[in-house]
Symmetry: C2
Subunit: 217 residues, 2 copies
Amino acid sequence: MADRARAAMLTALLDGRPLAAGELARVAGVSAQTASAHLTKLREGGLITVVKQGRHRYFRLQGHEVAQVIEALTRISPPVEVRSLKQSRQAAALQAARTCYDHLAGRAGTAFFAALIDGGLIEPDGREAYEVTAKGEERLHELEVDLAALRAARRRFAGHCLDWTERRPHLNGALGAALTGRMIELGWFVRGNTRRALTLTGEGRTGLQDVFACVVP
Amino acid sequence: MADRARAAMLTALLDGRPLAAGELARVAGVSAQTASAHLTKLREGGLITVVKQGRHRYFRLQGHEVAQVIEALTRISPPVEVRSLKQSRQAAALQAARTCYDHLAGRAGTAFFAALIDGGLIEPDGREAYEVTAKGEERLHELEVDLAALRAARRRFAGHCLDWTERRPHLNGALGAALTGRMIELGWFVRGNTRRALTLTGEGRTGLQDVFACVVP
DNA sequence: GTGATGCTTCGACGCGGGTCGAAGCGTCGA
DNA sequence: TCGACGCTTCGACCCGCGTCGAAGCATCAC
């Protein structure tokens, strides 16, 4: 993971969406051959998996544990110096709302998580995980989130991970991913042109306020 | 962190105790000159700090965030293949009880944490941290743990980190470190000859049972 | 003072690995 | 069937960096 190109690839994969080899070569700024070599190494190291689809090969992170390592590394890495106005805007957008692997993060993510706790919709079970309360069941049913299916999934139901910009936790796990997906479906968030970036829409702001009593700063 | 020698050094520092440059050279299996070069790099990278003491230079991890990265990396690293009976015994000992940076981990660590939660001595505040309950205040006072001093410390009071052998959380932060230190003082645990290893004593077993209703498997 | 110890700096060596050009292989569309 | 496209494999280059010997600089013991 210590190589510049590989680090760029892993960061690009951090939002959970699978990317093709060519795309990864582009974000890493290396040739296709070089990228192929790097991807082989990452795959042998168990950091990424690959699925063939036609003449494309799509790569994604092996699991949330890998994502956690990358987030943890980001936390202790020296901040990227901002060079241009565009970079500055991008950084600000990412700080406001973004995906972390496949769930909501940034200011919106931590605010949403705090609202879920404060509103008594989920509660910690003392074992690093969270459970949905009766009140939460009801509220999420309104949002057409299928909790039974999420619980049946092999994946961890709900946990949190520390947000590297906000230094506060946000929701992850199957529940975090499902809620994030649903909110995007509802048009509460739209994906930005920058990778991982999300933008909170007007409907999203009122929706979060009405349904979750969540005010995003 | 990707270099073998540096990784060995960082792992050796994971129990929080500062080590001298020569000691680190020994655990990494390199010469003093090479170790010096590595330590310079780690220092420039902000991963470790150094304090001079006479003709010795003691190194320690920069903070708990660095320790978290190392633990996270350990979690996704391929398990070290066991070669000898000695290694196997060491691994078993570490799995039973060890220090993680400066607090209790392993089976004993996760059992202790669960007992604190189940006994209502601490409770999560929903923000990734924990507070001591009134009942907990009382119990810890009996153990002569100075909570006021811990709260005054600049360090985070109490949190958890995921145990990489047990896959369950254990207590960290100022409270985790203080409790661990106190239990060692009381002779509940003794430091093993292997780095980071702790051994649960007979008094420790009864003490944990009596004071915390904690049964270590 | 003198010598020993702990650590760093300097210099030189050599290997590992990241890099890309060229070629090969499978897939898709016409 | 043919060419375009996406990706991998092979081969060669070469820079970077981990390594240690030798020397230098502190500190400690006597």
